[in-house]
């Protein structure tokens, strides 16, 4: 569970870096807190990201797109895929694989998680255009 000081620090970072109308912390006084963030790609498509905060920052937060995404062959992105940088879906929502355990520390901010997921969305749309897997654009962690 995120401590109050950390929550305030995360809020301050987001306030400094992003418009206040694109994110909202939800259910923060419960055991299942999460952060909802809007992400608009360069192509103009808008996605909603749900960042689960129940284990943050001690563990990597799960990040879901609030719908099922499909690859260029119309297959759902609902399973772990190294080439597409995805994990198991939940409740019909695609899960983005952003940080791995080797690069995660409890000092990683939610803003950095957002930037990586926003980049994943951009490369997802590049994949739809080119047919190349997402890991053609986004390298694997060492």
């Amino acid at each position: 569970m995120m401590k109050y000081n950390r929550f305030k620090a995360e809020q301050e970072v987001l306030e400094a870096k992003l418009p206040s109308n694109i994110y909202r912390f939800m259910d923060m006084n419960t055991s299942r807190p999460y952060l909802v963030m809007a992400a608009r790609t360069n192509r103009g498509n808008v996605y909603t990201l749900r960042i689960e905060l129940d284990m943050f920052p001690d563990s990597i937060p799960q990040v879901f797109v609030n719908k099922m995404l499909y690859d260029c062959n119309n297959n759902p992105l609902d399973t772990p895929s190294s080439t597409m940088h995805t994990l198991n879906s939940k409740n019909g929502c695609t899960q983005i694989c952003h940080y791995g355990s080797s690069s995660w520390t409890n000092r990683v901010s939610l803003y950095k998680v957002y930037i990586k997921c926003r980049l994943w969305l951009e490369m997802y749309e590049a994949h739809l255009s080119s047919g190349k897997p997402i890991d053609y654009y986004l390298k694997h962690q060492n």
Partner: protein, 58 residues
């Protein structure tokens, strides 16, 4: 036009991920878009995020 923008930034992302570029990846919070900028030059409208993504994806 929008697809051109996607393809252009995809090339920038691939190049910055591989380190074979003199271009930085910039996130512009006002537009929500990724942009490119010459490496090392302060980009007034956004923040350089190249390093944030260099640790790769799982």
């Amino acid at each position: 036009m929008n697809e051109e923008k996607t393809n252009k930034i995809a090339k920038v992302v691939k190049d910055t991920q591989s380190g074979n570029t003199i271009t930085d990846l910039v996130f512009n919070p006002e537009t929500g878009e990724f942009e490119e900028a010459p490496m090392g030059i302060t980009h007034g409208a956004g923040e350089v995020v190249t390093d944030m993504t260099k640790d790769g994806f799982a």
